[in-house]
Amino acid sequence: MSEPDGRRHYLNVDYGVRSWLLTTDHKRIAILYLCSITAMFILGGLFAVGIRLELLTPQGDFVQADTYNKLFTMHGVVMVFFFLIPSIPAVLGNFLVPMMIGARDLAFPRINLLSWYLYVLGALFTLFAMITGGVDTGWTFYTPYSTASSATNVMPTAIGIFITGFSSILTGLNFIATIHTMRAPGLTWFRLPLFVWAHYATSLIMVLGTPVIAITVALVGLERGLHIGIFDPALGGDPILFQHLFWFYSHPAVYIMILPGMGVISEVVTCFARRRIYGYGFIAASSLMIALLGFLVWGHHMFVSGQSQYAALVFSFLSFFVAIPSAVKVFNWTATLYRGSIAWDSPMLYALGFMGLFTIGGLTGLFLAALGLDVHVHDTYFVVAHFHYIMVGGTIMAYLGGVHFWWPKITGRMYPEALAKVSGFVIFLGFNLTFFPQFILGYLGMPRRYHSYPDEFQVLNVFSTAGASILGVGYLLPLCYFLWSLRYGAKAPANPWNAAGLEWQTLSPPPTENFETTPVVTTDAYDYGPDGARATPPEAAVA
């Protein structure tokens, strides 16, 4: 990647392995994360292949029951803890937050590197657990099954999750301190890009929620190792207490997974509609509201678990509350399109896909928040479909959209646009075919985590597996053309999209110190208005 003009930037300033493994440059750390989470995504995807192949037929004939139980457990553990939670913050957030606020790096660069190493260490423990026999408790580790009944590698998995949790915490601390204290001159809170607001809200959750899962898995480990009775009723413990502690983190965790994606959408939609964002203050406030309310609704995972009906009422009520800020965001993004000048570039297509699929996923959340209805669909494929619509139709689409949008900045190369559009459509199609039938399956009564199932559920399962194969192809395509673009892609200018935002005011790829001189900010974010600096759309996109 050396430049013919000899320009030095963060990628070619040093090619040595040590310069990568001991880097404190937030941009390089983002690349390190990009590689690791992609590897984990592929692993989690392979587990999903196993699941969907088994579910082609009603009988458990592809793998044994114990193997299947390990497949869905490990799919969940890898995807939640090692892909979705880090993805956008650790890759795009690490790369862009300092640049978007005009800083040279995050507040604590060495802690940033430590954060990556903790992620890798945690992943290694979990991989070790998987290679030496696997774990079959479900990613939710309900007790007493996980502490007293399962004969699999619960401890190493719990240790891996414990360690990775600290990776998350350190990233959150770094973002909070950075955003509070290192904004460029003139960059007040209400001039910040919404991507930064989203990461700020996410960081609050990371810092406040992750320690609770850490202590919970630590107690599970202790109980399993020493047979003490914190959660095992046979030893005087309370299994429902585990569920409260677990979901106290794991519900806010889903907001860790979606809020950064929403930040990406705000950046992409404004750029490709050439519009200021509609309702800036409302979108910023809604991110904080989601972070706050997200901590108050964990009991909606436990409506039939044995908590009191009064607790159930309160959690259901609050769960409807937390839906509102998300709806407000979707309406504001849609309004941003109104009378815009809309380009159909692939990042925009991903963002629009997010809006549609997140809307469906979010609306199905209402089904689950409604007490009388949740009783029927809890622990069925309806829930599985709901969270995949949000996590895959939402987060992953936002992640891919963001990677496409900022790829030129990160690598200095353009990806092939036509192929990007094609894979976007393939992903959209494959995704819906995979997961929409699961709503129906769930309402029909097919429970989750079933290795074999009654014959009448087969047709819908076949549709789902067919969709999964298409989705898999859809994900392979960007992997291929992004790698291809590193060598053969067209050179990217500093600002191929003529986008607003400080990250676009430096070269692609950026120099190590990001900016020659610290920028001074004089305008609001998304300066696309008719009199704004970005009023003129870019020339025809580079092929």
Binding site: R104, A107, R110, L173, V207, I215, L222, H227, D238, L245
Partner: protein, 216 residues
């Protein structure tokens, strides 16, 4: 813990030392909030079981050595005092007193952990360590075991934090010896001080909850 033990006091990502100080301070406070949530999970578990098994918790608590616990509380409070004096010394550029106070804090912390080790050993001898070797004569053995599980988990995590604190103090002492701290730059001492006070405060909550149930 922070990127501040560079050769120069000002790290490259910061515009000036004031920004650096604010960022570090922010980071430390955010980290302490995080730690509150960490211990909070344990406190929540403790609360649930204390309410459910009040009798067993009462009995279990009475088998803890209240003398050692009280001594430890005094030791830790004293160490917070010496730590605060260390921060003051750093702020006023007094190198030798700074090293002395830091060393004193480390020593007192060591005494604390030493006494804890004695207590743990005593519990081991009395078969009160949860697990296969746990023996309790009397009713509610299972629930008493839960009390002891929480006792070891909570004081154990606390002790772990103390050990991390020892590492931080050692690092500070080494740097203090090199004359790195003075009125212009003493943030690391301040930050470690914050951390140490936090660990102390956690103990102030642990002590009555574990040792003083139903005592008059």
């Amino acid at each position: 813990m922070h990127s501040l033990s560079d050769a120069q006091p000002l790290a490259h990502q910061f515009d000036d030392t004031d920004q650096q100080r604010r960022a570090v301070s922010f980071g430390m406070w955010a980290f302490l909030v995080n730690e509150i949530m960490f211990f909070g999970g344990l406190f929540a578990t403790y609360t649930v079981y204390r309410v459910l098994y009040a009798h067993a918790f009462h009995d279990g608590s009475h088998h803890l050595d209240i003398t050692l616990g009280t001594i430890n509380t005094a030791v830790l409070i004293a160490s917070s005092l010496t730590m605060a004096l260390g921060v003051w010394s750093a702020e006023h550029g007094k190198r030798r007193p700074l090293m002395a106070w830091l060393l004193m804090t480390l020593l007192l912390g060591g005494v604390f952990v030493g006494i804890k080790a004695v207590e743990y050993h005593g519990k081991w001898v009395d078969h009160l360590v949860p697990g296969p070797g746990f023996v309790w004569h009397g009713e509610g053995a299972q629930h008493v075991q839960i009390f002891y599980s929480l006792y070891f988990a909570m004081t154990g995590f606390h002790a772990l934090h103390m050990l991390v604190g020892f590492g931080l103090l050692t690092w500070l002492i080494i740097d203090a010896r090199r004359g790195r701290f003075g009125p212009a730059y003493y943030a690391p001492v301040e930050m470690v001080g914050l951390y140490w006070h936090f660990v102390d405060i956690v103990w102030i909550f642990l002590f009555p909850l574990l040792y003083l149930i139903g005592r008059h």
